[in-house]
C-alpha cells in the first residue's frame, strides 16, 4: 500500500440514519480488489454508496488519486466521478437491448480510464450471443455479466461492485466468479467489492476491509488479516487462511498437483493448472488438526511441521484457535482446549499440522 495521497482512495464519512450510523476513516490502495466484508447491516453497502456519491454523508471527505470528490461544501455528483457501479440485482435498462446497454455506457465513457474495446469486453465476459436480447429475455447470471461488461465499457478508473453475486444461486455464482477473476487479472482497474461471502473474499480480495455496525474493524492485506486470531468478525466454519502459492509439480498418476508457498509445499487435487501459475489456496481452521509427530500412517496427504505462534479464543469456550508458522506463512487451526492440554502444546513449541483439505481458490 502506497501511503502517498495521489494514488489511493481516502474516505472519511459520518452518516446518521435512524437506527444506523456509519463512521469510517480509511485509506485504500488503488490497485487490485479490496473486499469490503461484513454481515448484513454492517454498513458496507452504505460505505460504497457514499463513495459512489449516491448518498451524501453529513460529514464526508473523499479523495481519489488526488482528486477531491467530497469535502465540506464540495460534492462532485456521481456522473462526474470516473467510476462505474455494479449493483446487486439486475440494473440493466429494460428498454434497451444488451448491446444498447453497452453502447449507452460507451458513449458516456470517461476519457482517462483504461482503453477497452467493445469486442474485448464481449469476449472477456462471454456475452457475444446475448447482445441482441432484451434484459427480460436473459437469465439472472447473464444479466449480471452484461451489467459488468457495461460498467467496463464506461472506462472507469474505479469499479464499485455491490454484492454482484448475492442475488444468484450457487451455480450462477460459480459461472460468474471466473469472469470477475479474469477481469481482475486483465484490467488494471482498482475494484471495491462489497460482499458477505467469505468464499468470494478468499477468491478475489487482495485487501480486506472488515466492517461491523457501521465501523471498520479490520483493514489490511488479505493473508495477514485473515490469519490474525483477533479477526473481529465471527466466521464460524468459514474461519481460515488464504495463502499465495505457485504450481510446482504435476503428478499425473494420482491426479495431484504440488503447490509451493513461502515455507513449504502442499499436495492437492489437479484442476487443470499449468506449472508456474500463481494461485491462492484456502485452508480452513476446522480442516487442520495437530499431532506431536508426523509419522503416523494416515490418509492425510499434507503433514507439515509448524511452530505455534499464538493461541487465541474461539467463539465456543471449549475451542481454541492456534496460529501456526511454517517458514514465513501462517496457518490457523481450530482445536479443542482439551487437546491442547493433553498434547501440552504452548506458544513457541513445534507441532505437526495435519491438513485434511486444501482448496485452490484461484
Amino acid at each position: 500500500m502506497n501511503p502517498t495521497a495521489t494514488d489511493n482512495l481516502q474516505a472519511c464519512f459520518k452518516l446518521d440514519r435512524p437506527g444506523f450510523s456509519l463512521d469510517v476513516d480509511i485509506t485504500l490502495p488503488n490497485r487490485g480488489v479490496t473486499a469490503i466484508f461484513g454481515h448484513s447491516g454492517s454498513g458496507k453497502t452504505s460505505l460504497l454508496r457514499c463513495i459512489a456519491g449516491f448518498e451524501k454523508a453529513a460529514y464526508g471527505h473523499l479523495t481519489f488519486e488526488g482528486q477531491t470528490w467530497q469535502n465540506g461544501k464540495t460534492f462532485v455528483p456521481t456522473h462526474r466521478r470516473p467510476l462505474a457501479y455494479v449493483f446487486q440485482e439486475a440494473s440493466l435498462f429494460n428498454h434497451l437491448t444488451a448491446r444498447k446497454n453497452l453502447t449507452y455506457a460507451q458513449r458516456r465513457a470517461g476519457h482517462d480510464g483504461p482503453v477497452v474495446g467493445l469486442d474485448d469486453i464481449i469476449d472477456l465476459l462471454g456475452i457475444r450471443k446475448l447482445l441482441e436480447q432484451y434484459p427480460s429475455q436473459l437469465s439472472g447470471g447473464e444479466r449480471q455479466r452484461i451489467a459488468i461488461a457495461r460498467a467496463l465499457m464506461n472506462r472507469p478508473r474505479l469499479l464499485l461492485m455491490d454484492e454482484p453475486l448475492a442475488a444468484l444461486d450457487q451455480a450462477r455464482k460459480q459461472e460468474i466468479l471466473p469472469y470477475i477473476e479474469t477481469l481482475k487479472r486483465e484490467m488494471h482497474l482498482p475494484i471495491l467489492y462489497v460482499t458477505h461471502a467469505p468464499e468470494e473474499v478468499a477468491r478475489l480480495a487482495d485487501t480486506l476491509v472488515a466492517m461491523e455496525k457501521g465501523r471498520v474493524v479490520a483493514l489490511g492485506g488479505l493473508t495477514e488479516t485473515l490469519a490474525a486470531l483477533d479477526f473481529p468478525i465471527r466466521l464460524g466454519e468459514e474461519s481460515g487462511v488464504v495463502i499465495p502459492a505457485v504450481i510446482a509439480e504435476h503428478d499425473p498418476q494420482w491426479q495431484l498437483i504440488r503447490v509451493n508457498f513461502d515455507g513449504g509445499s502442499l499436495w492437492l487435487r489437479d484442476n487443470q493448472t499449468t506449472i508456474g501459475d500463481f494461485v491462492r489456496i484456502r485452508v480452513l481452521a476446522r480442516d487442520i488438526s495437530l499431532a506431536l509427530d508426523g509419522n503416523h500412517a494416515s490418509s492425510i496427504t499434507n503433514t507439515l511441521p509448524a511452530t505455534i505462534d499464538e493461541i487465541g479464543q474461539d467463539e465456543h469456550p471449549g475451542l481454541a484457535l492456534v496460529k501456526l508458522k511454517v517458514g514465513s506463512t501462517f496457518f490457523v487451526a481450530r482445536v479443542t482446549r482439551r487437546s491442547l492440554h493433553h498434547l501440552k502444546l504452548s506458544v513457541g513449541e513445534t507441532t505437526w499440522m495435519q491438513i485434511k483439505s486444501v482448496a485452490l481458490v484461484q
Binding site: 456522473h79 449507452y104 460498467a151
Partner: protein
Amino acid sequence: MFFSEADIHTLLLSIKLATVVTLILLILGTPIAWWLSQTRSRFKGVVSSIVALPLVLPPTVLGFYLLLAMGPHGLLGQLTQWLGLGTLPFTFEGLVVASVFYSMPFVVQPIQNAIEGLGQRPVEVAASLGASPLDTFFTVVLPLAKPGFITAGILGFAHTIGEFGVILMIGGNIPEETRVISIQIYDHVESMNYAEAHKLAATMVVFSFAVLLTLYTLTRQTHNKTQIHAP
C-alpha cells in the same frame, strides 16, 4: 348525427382548448412531477397539495379565485396588463390559464407515479455511467415511464374537454371565444332544446368512454405500474 354550425364551433373550440392545455401541461407538469419524485425537500408536501387541490375544490371556488387573480386588480391581471396583454377573463387565453390549473393533477400525478414506480435504481445506474440528470431524464426516465406520460396526456385532455364550472366562472359564454361544449349543452337545456343537448351530450359520453377504453387497454398492454386516478 349532424351538428348545427354553432355546435361545431363549440366542439372545435373545446378540442382546441384541450389540445393547447394538454401540451402546456405536459411541458409544465413534467418538471414538477420529476421534482416531486426526486426531492427530499420539506416543501414537497406543500407543492403536492397545491397540485392536487383542484381534485377536491369545487370548480366554482377555483374559478372564483382565478377570476379575482386574473381581474384588473388581481396579481395575474396586473402582470398581464403590465405586459400589455390586457386582462384574461372572458378570453380564450384566460380559459387556457384556468384549465392548466384545473387539469394539473391529472397530468402531474400519473407522471409522478410512473417515475416513482421506476425507483431510484435506473437513475443511479445512469449517473454511475456518467449521464447528467438531463441526459438521464431523456434517455432513461422518459422511455421507461412512457406509459405514465401517455396516461397523463389522455387524462389531461379528457378532463379539460369536460370542464364546466371553472369556465363558466371566468370565461362566460362568448361564442367562438369561450363557449365550449359543456356550456353549450347547458345553454341547450336552459332553452329547453333537449334534442340538441342530446347530440352533444351523447357525443361526450361516447368520447369519454372511448378515451377510458383506450387508456385501460393501453395500460394492460404495457404492463405498467402507473396508477390511474379516474376523474
